[in-house]
Every structure is written in structure tokens, then in C-alpha cells.
């Protein structure tokens, strides 16, 4: 096929850096020195890691945090998914819309909201409870593993919900109906049929969420770091950007290597479980809706109390607290006295020049990153599914890596490469280009999966008919594949564009100058500098910038509901 090598080359351009970055991370762990020095190889970092007690504390912290995250997200996601898929609860479209938008709310945003709610010193809920019950100590502490896991779990509950809904969807409802018809009641059917059959799916979702929790950065960075509670991600970050000593890329490389191996193992476990759960999936081809469990009026009330409580706790409360905080000079719980202090001072005082620079950079990212990602991923998907190339499985496996490898580590590898390896070739450090490149690499897994799913549903004969008719590969791509893939492409483009607004993890090490500053970094900078109330105001400004894009997404993306979030 003429043009085949063009596609394969484009695919390779996207995937080679992924492999390179991974190798760099492993290499970093054995490396010692500063830019310009002669390279010295050493095992020192690994020795230090395994003999230092703080490593084990960090490991325990990370495991505790990730486990709490899983439990919290399942606690909200499993009942919500069951209510939506198997009961006669009205308003399901609304629930879907709220959950989807919920997945877009930046984690640093809710994290700050929860600090205002549950911080032992300034937290509103703590203060009220202490006042009402005459407590000497704050009952809750957000700056703990449980507290951080709670916030992260609420944030990831959207993804958990979407995954668990998918397991319900792929399950033949007749399996449950067969139990009901032959004499099993609702509860026994749940116990003996529904639960055992959805269990592999729930386990798969748990592993998925656990993997994300393991390398999650924003919540530990915003809530944990200032209270000296480190998880792996913040530990690595601290080694790169310490406050007193010199950065230790070697140490960061060693920890990252361990984390990457752990994440790859978990991803392998995820796919094993997922395959197991797919064995239970039956495609019926019958269009009938499953028999819905009738909840009755009281059931509806309870269900809506649960769902309402979930949305209030997960999104509304943190948002309200940020609004309140943004209007005050010093944070204090709502009261009549505090109301007199309310003003827009924080908004006037914001570094507006920087914000506009950040907004401009974010707009460039929003356009460049999804476009570049889609071009690369179209080539990758085509290579994997259509090229007939011997190595196509390798392409598929490498395209999955950016999902398994923590994004913070991708970014660190990029910084390392720009500082030490490519310094004399191109100057990437501190540029917007490096942001575009790393963001793009990090989205390859997500976009490839979306395009793969879509392309797999297009019969190859549609293209073959065009080849037989004399069209060339590029024409087939333009005239046949692109129009057929358009809904998926539009959806993926919009989703990736929106993710640029909430991306703090990679930016935290990549943004090093005013020239490549992004909006989340400005918010975080204010927060780290101690201006909590200004950070709250900046947060709202970021949401304001984001709003038009969300409306576009809802308008264009509503027809293609997403099945898997990246």
C-alpha cells in the first residue's frame, strides 16, 4: 500500500519518545551529578532508599492514601451505577451530565475547598462542631491520609462510576431476569447473580483507581506537602525542587523507577481482571431494556438523598467554600460579622498580567495538544489495526505506556532530557513547546483507545472498496475514515482540550518561567505562597475561563457519551 510507511513513521514519531523517556527514568536512578559535570554512575540512590526509614513511611502513606481513594470512590460509584442502570429512578440523564462535568472539575480546586472545610485550624466544619459541642480539638483533619484519600476518592468517583456502568451494560440483563423468574427475589438475585458477575468489573475498576491514586499528585501537593505528609509523587517532586539543597535527579529517578515498575505490574493486573470480566459479557443483540427494579416513592426519595448528598459533598460544598474564601481577606467561617468584610479585593489584587499570560498559554495548549495527539494517534491506530505490520502489537503496547507511567515521571524525564541531553541541541527547558510535547505524549493512551474502539467498528471492506475503486491511502483516510471517525475525534479533541485546564501535575515540574506559565500553576503558586484567599479567587477566574470550553464540549460532545476516561 502506497503511503503506508508515512503512517507508520508518524506513529513511530509519537511512540519513540515514550520509550526514550522511560529509559531515561531508569538511567537517571544510576546517575549522579549536575549539568556539565562528567557523568558518574552509582548505586548510591537505591542504597539510600532501602536503608532510609522515610522511604518506608512514604510507601505506607502512599498505600494508605491510594486504598482510601479506592474505598471512597467505590462507596459513591457502585450504588450510583446500580441506581442508574437497574432501577426506575427518574432523572438519569441529569445524573450522567453531572457526573461527566464532575470529572472535569480540577482536583486542585476541590482540594482547596476541602482545606477550607476540614482543616484542623481554619476548617469551617471543624469550627462549627467545636463551637456547638464545646470540643477542645478539631474532630476532623483533612491533612491526613484519610482526609486526602477522601478528597481524591471523591474526585475519582466519576471515573469509577463510568467504568462500573460499563460492566453493567455489557452484562446480559437476562441473567438477572432468569433468576427472578425462577423464584429468586431482588436481594438474592443481587447476592447470587448480579454481584458475582459484576465483581471482576468492580475489582478491575479498583485496580485502575488504585493505580491513579498511587501516583496522584495534586491532592498530596496541596493538602499534604505543607503538612509534611509525603506520598511517592510529592516525594519525587521534592527531590527535584527541594527548598534548601540541590535537586537530586538521581534520587528522583530511583524512586520513579520503582513507581513505574509498580504501576506496570498493576496495569497488567488490571488487564487480567478486565479480560476475566469480559468472559461474562454477553452481547444479546436484543434491544429490550432490562427489567428495572421499582424503588417506589420512598426509594426514590432515599436514592435522591444519597445522590444529592454525593453531589453536594463532592462538588458543591468545596465550590461554595472557595467562593466564600475568595471574598474575604482572611479566612473565617461564615457569620454576620464576617459578611461585613466581604469584598472583591482579592480579585482586584490578582496578578492579572500573569493570569492573561497563563490564559494565552492555556489556549495555545488547548489547541495544539489535542490536534497533535489526534494526528499521532490516528497514525498509531491505523498502524495497529490496519497496516498488517508484523510489529503492530508493539505499537499497541507502547501506546498504552503513557497510561501506566505516572505523568509526573514523564514530565521529570522530559526536564532531565532538556537539561542534560538536549541542552546543546534545542532549548526546550522552560518553553511552552516542552509543555505541548509532554502533554501530547501523556494523552496518547487515551486518544489511541478512543480511536481504536471507533476504527474497530468500521469494516475494513469499506476502505478496500475504495482501494479497489482506485483511491490512494491518503484519499481513503480523508474521504472514508475521517468522516466516519469524526464523532469520536470531535469528542476526544474536546475532552483533551478541557483537560489542559486541570493539568497541574506535569506543569508542576515543566513550568519554570513566566513564558510557559499555565493557569493552574498560577493558582498553585498563590496557594504555596500562603495567599489562600487570593488562590481561591484565582481558582474562580480559571473556572470562568474554562466555562465557554465546557459549554462547547456539552454542545458538541453530547452525542458521543464517553465510555472510558483517561
Amino acid at each position: 500500500m502506497k503511503g503506508r510507511w508515512l503512517f507508520v513513521s508518524i506513529a513511530a514519531v509519537g511512540l519513540v519518545p515514550v520509550v526514550a523517556f522511560l529509559l531515561i527514568v531508569f538511567w537517571m536512578g544510576f546517575w549522579q551529578g549536575s549539568p556539565g559535570d562528567p557523568v558518574v554512575y552509582t548505586l548510591k540512590h537505591y542504597r539510600e532508599l532501602f536503608t532510609d526509614g522515610s522511604t518506608y513511611r512514604t510507601l505506607l502513606n502512599t498505600l494508605g492514601f491510594a486504598s482510601t481513594t479506592v474505598l471512597v470512590s467505590l462507596f459513591f460509584a457502585v450504588p450510583t451505577a446500580w441506581l442508574v442502570e437497574r432501577t426506575d429512578l427518574p432523572g438519569k440523564n441529569l445524573i450522567f451530565a453531572l457526573v461527566t462535568i464532575g470529572a472535569l472539575v480540577p482536583t486542585f480546586f476541590t482540594s482547596m475547598g476541602w482545606v477550607f472545610l476540614l482543616h484542623p485550624r481554619i476548617g469551617v466544619i471543624n469550627k462549627f462542631l467545636m463551637e456547638w459541642f464545646g470540643l477542645a480539638q478539631a474532630p476532623f483533619n483533612i491533612a491526613s491520609l484519610l482526609g486526602m484519600g477522601w478528597v481524591e476518592g471523591l474526585g475519582l468517583s466519576s471515573i469509577a462510576f463510568i467504568m462500573i456502568v460499563a460492566t453493567y451494560r455489557t452484562m446480559d440483563p437476562a441473567l438477572e431476569e432468569a433468576a427472578r423468574v425462577h423464584g429468586l427475589g431482588i436481594l438474592r438475585t443481587l447476592r447470587y447473580v448480579t454481584l458475582p458477575l459484576t465483581f471482576p468489573g468492580i475489582i478491575a475498576a479498583s485496580i485502575y483507581i488504585f493505580t491513579i491514586g498511587l501516583s496522584a499528585f495534586e491532592v498530596p501537593a496541596i493538602i499534604g506537602m505543607s503538612n509534611k505528609i509525603f506520598t511517592f509523587s510529592t516525594f519525587i517532586f521534592y527531590k527535584i525542587q527541594p527548598q534548601e539543597e540541590l535537586p537530586s535527579y538521581g534520587m528522583a529517578g530511583a524512586v520513579s523507577s520503582i513507581l513505574v515498575v509498580l504501576a506496570l505490574l498493576l496495569s497488567w493486573g488490571y488487564f487480567r481482571t478486565l479480560r476475566f470480566s469480559h468472559r461474562y459479557a454477553v452481547v444479546t443483540g436484543k434491544g429490550y431494556r432490562p427489567r428495572l427494579v421499582e424503588l417506589g416513592k420512598r426509594g426514590w426519595l432515599l436514592a435522591w438523598l444519597f445522590l444529592g448528598g454525593y453531589f453536594v459533598v463532592a462538588k458543591l460544598l468545596p465550590f461554595l467554600l472557595l467562593v466564600w474564601a475568595s471574598l474575604l481577606r482572611f479566612f473565617q467561617p461564615p457569620s454576620w460579622a464576617a459578611l461585613e468584610q466581604v469584598s472583591l479585593r482579592n480579585f482586584y489584587g490578582l496578578p492579572w498580567n500573569l493570569l492573561f499570560q497563563g490564559a494565552w498559554n492555556t489556549v495555545i495548549l488547548m489547541i495544539a495538544v489535542p490536534t497533535l495527539t489526534l494526528i499521532l494517534c490516528l497514525a498509531i491506530s491505523w498502524t495497529v489495526l490496519r497496516s498488517g505490520l508484523k510489529w503492530r502489537v508493539t505499537f499497541d503496547a507502547v501506546a498504552f505506556l503513557p497510561h501506566a507511567v505516572p505523568h509526573l515521571i514523564l514530565a521529570i524525564a522530559a526536564v532531565f532530557a532538556s537539561l542534560f541531553l538536549l541542552r546543546d541541541v534545542v532549548s526546550l527547558y522552560g518553553s511552552l513547546t516542552i509543555l505541548i510535547l509532554v502533554y501530547t505524549l501523556s494523552r496518547i493512551s487515551f486518544a489511541t483507545r478512543i480511536i481504536n474502539n471507533s476504527l474497530a467498528q468500521i469494516h475494513p471492506e469499506l476502505e478496500e472498496a475504495a482501494f479497489v475503486g482506485g483511491l490512494r491511502l491518503l484519499q481513503v483516510m480523508r474521504k472514508i475514515l475521517l468522516p466516519l471517525l469524526k464523532p469520536a475525534l470531535v469528542y476526544a479533541w474536546l475532552w483533551m482540550a478541557l483537560l489542559c485546564f486541570r493539568e497541574l501535575t506535569m506543569a508542576s515540574v515543566l513550568v519554570t518561567s513566566q513564558g510557559n506559565v499555565t493557569l493552574p500553576m498560577i493558582v498553585w503558586g498563590l496557594w504555596l505562597g500562603g495567599s489562600l484567599n487570593q488562590a481561591a479567587a484565582a481558582n474562580l477566574v480559571v473556572l470562568g475561563f474554562m466555562l465557554p470550553a465546557v459549554i462547547l464540549y456539552l454542545y458538541f460532545g453530547r452525542r458521543t457519551r464517553f465510555t472510558e476516561a483517561g
Binding site: A174, H182, L184
Partner: protein, 363 residues
């Protein structure tokens, strides 16, 4: 056994309501093999699922064995597990996480009609032996072939000794040869057990082989209920006649009470009812007789055989009379490959319906 009165159900499809059941009345007696036959979207599956309690109708009444299971006016809606039925699903719905014996056993140990512990094993064996799966007890169910899964589904449905067995297109996922074999087994087994069966299919051959009586459904209504012979020979409407095998249609105008002016000439009919104006008449291909000479002059036309297809045990010929082409089915030796022929249409074999808009397109 089954008694259904004025059952109604609408589905919301997008922003418009689709009537799935428009006032169904049905009586099925004990021990009867009753088939619901209709094209997809005719409401037959909705009716079956309503009987099972898997679908909640909007109005009407269903009773099984004299016990009211659903009544909109009396606000009764018994859940599926309380109805005491066995059911075979189109997808078989074999629980993939259990073995063959556990699939049958789950309903016996945890269902509403559970047995004492000691009896369960014997009942599982008995049910599996009914479908000739004696040696499969410990086999994981998901490793079975489609035909075996179908038999497990049947065993599971029969294990609770239901008075009523519901079957939703149970053969549609089997290949043609297996289908015939299973069809015969189902008929034998249900006869032997004396069980009442309500069976849904879109396959008219299947319906005719299995059924004591058939209800033909279309667009949420029952068009006709009868035994296979009645439905084939005395269809109540052109729709039912069309649904059972092929049929030639002629359009015409009544001249008097028994003579019709048609596109091939004057036709004599023999019907109990009086018709006036425009009518359509149907003749089955096997009733289109190709003759060489005949004393009978009634309904005899000269035509031309355009083409003949030999199918081994029979032959079909396309016969042109004036501008009309009729399909004739004959014994292979009676067929004439091509050329002039005399065609006889026996008047007692012609069905007649008044011509409405629905019949205008029939050929």
C-alpha cells in the same frame, strides 16, 4: 391456565409513544402448546415478558391458574419470582460463573420454591437427564456449546416443576440442523410432561411444527388465533395469509355473489360471506393446477410457463396468464419446463377479502 384480558402497553421511544400491546385478549388451556407468532416489533415478546412479570403493562389483567398476577384496576403486580413459572431466554441466560449443576441448583436451593436439602441433588439429576446432559453436572457453564447451553436453560426452567413454561425464541441462536432436532425434542418433552407452554417465535414453520394453537400478532394486536391448519387454509385476513407461506394475489370486482372480474378473466369463488365492490383473492401455489385437458371449465385459463425450477421433491413454475404471473407448485413430473399450458384454480381453494388500502399493493 393463562387468562389475559385487554392487556395494554406503550413504550416511550424518544419523544413518541409506541404501542407494543393494544388490548390483548387470550385464553390458553392447561397442557396446551401455545405459540405467539409475529414479525419483530409485533409485541409478542412484550406479551411473553408481561406474563413472566418482567414487563409491567399499562392496563389489563393477567391470571395464571386462576390466580390474578397482574391487574391494573386492582393494583396487583406480582413480582416474577412469585408467579411459579419456568422460562427459557433467547440468549439462554446461563450464569457463566456457575457449573451446569449449580445453574439448575441455584433456583432449587435459593428460589421461592426451594426444596429440602436432600431432594436437590436428585432433582438436578432428573432435570439434566430430561435434556440428556447427565454427565455434564460439574462442567463450567460458560464452556458449553450453544446447543448445550440451550439444554441447560431448558433443564433449569423445568427443574422447579412449573405449571407454565415460557420460551422466548429459544431456537433462534442455533444452526439450522440442530434447530430441527431440538424442536422435535421440545415437542416430545413438553407433551410427555403435560406442561402448558407459551412460546414466542417469528418462524412460521417452527410455529406450525410445535403448536397446538397459534396466535398471529402484528403491531401489538392479535390478528387471528387458531390451529396451524386453520391459519393456513382459512386466514382471517390477507396479512395472516401472507405470513404463512407464499400466496398469489388477484385483484377484482364482484359481478354477482359468486363471480369476480379479475385481471386474468372471470373467476368463480365459493365463499360463505357476501362481498361487494373490489376484492382481493389469494391462491396458494400448490393450488394452482397445471392441466392438459379438463372437463371442468370453471376457472380454467390458458397460460404460458415462463420458467420452471426443479427442487427435487417438487417443482415451481412461473405461469403467465394475460399480464399476470402466478406461481405454481407441482410434483416434479407434472411440471412442464416452458410453453403453453392450461391453468385450473379450484374455487374452494380461493380465499377472498374485501380490498382496502392495505391490500392494494398485494401481488
Amino acid at each position: 391456565m393463562i387468562s389475559i384480558t385487554d392487556l395494554r402497553k406503550n413504550f416511550q421511544s424518544g419523544d413518541r409513544a409506541v404501542a407494543a400491546l393494544q388490548g390483548i385478549d387470550l385464553e390458553v388451556s392447561k397442557g396446551e402448546f401455545f405459540v405467539l407468532l409475529g414479525p419483530s416489533g409485533s409485541g409478542k415478546t412484550t406479551l411473553l415478558r408481561s406474563v413472566a412479570g418482567l414487563e409491567k403493562p399499562d392496563a389489563g389483567e393477567i391470571s395464571l391458574n386462576g390466580k390474578v398476577m397482574f391487574s391494573s384496576s386492582r393494583r396487583i403486580a406480582e413480582p416474577p419470582e412469585a408467579r411459579g413459572i419456568g422460562m427459557v431466554f433467547q440468549s439462554y441466560a446461563i450464569w457463566p460463573h456457575l457449573t451446569v449443576a449449580e445453574n439448575v441448583g441455584l433456583v432449587l436451593t435459593h428460589g421461592r420454591f426451594r426444596l429440602a436439602k436432600g431432594e436437590v441433588q436428585a432433582r438436578i439429576r432428573h432435570a439434566l437427564s430430561l435434556v440428556q446432559l447427565d454427565d455434564f453436572e460439574s462442567r463450567p457453564a460458560r464452556l458449553l456449546s450453544g446447543g448445550q447451553q440451550q439444554r441447560v436453560a431448558l433443564a433449569r426452567a423445568l427443574a422447579v416443576n412449573p405449571a407454565l413454561l415460557l420460551m422466548d425464541e429459544p431456537l433462534s441462536n442455533l444452526d439450522a440442523r440442530l434447530r430441527e432436532e431440538v424442536r422435535t425434542n421440545i415437542k416430545k418433552l413438553t407433551n410427555q410432561l403435560g406442561i402448558t407452554v407459551l412460546y414466542v417465535t417469528h418462524d412460521q414453520v417452527e410455529a406450525m411444527v410445535l403448536a397446538d394453537r397459534i396466535a398471529v400478532m402484528a403491531q401489538g394486536e392479535i390478528l387471528q388465533i387458531g390451529n396451524p391448519y386453520e391459519l393456513y387454509r382459512v386466514p382471517a385476513s390477507s396479512l395472516v395469509a401472507e405470513f404463512f407461506g407464499s400466496i398469489n394475489w388477484l385483484h377484482g370486482k364482484m359481478l354477482d355473489s359468486e363471480r369476480v372480474e379479475t385481471e386474468i378473466g372471470t373467476l368463480v369463488i365459493q365463499v360463505a360471506r357476501q362481498y361487494e365492490g373490489n376484492v382481493v383473492m389469494g391462491v396458494r401455489p400448490e393450488d394452482v393446477k397445471l392441466v392438459h385437458a379438463s372437463a371442468d371449465v370453471e376457472n380454467r385459463f390458458s397460460g404460458d410457463v415462463l420458467a420452471t425450477t426443479f427442487l427435487g421433491d417438487q417443482a415451481t413454475s412461473e405461469v403467465k396468464i394475460k399480464n399476470k404471473i402466478l406461481l405454481a407448485k407441482t410434483l416434479p413430473d407434472d411440471a412442464k419446463p416452458v410453453g403453453a399450458v392450461l391453468v385450473h384454480l379450484p374455487k374452494e381453494k380461493i380465499v377472498v377479502f374485501p380490498e382496502t388500502v392495505a391490500e392494494e399493493h398485494l401481488v
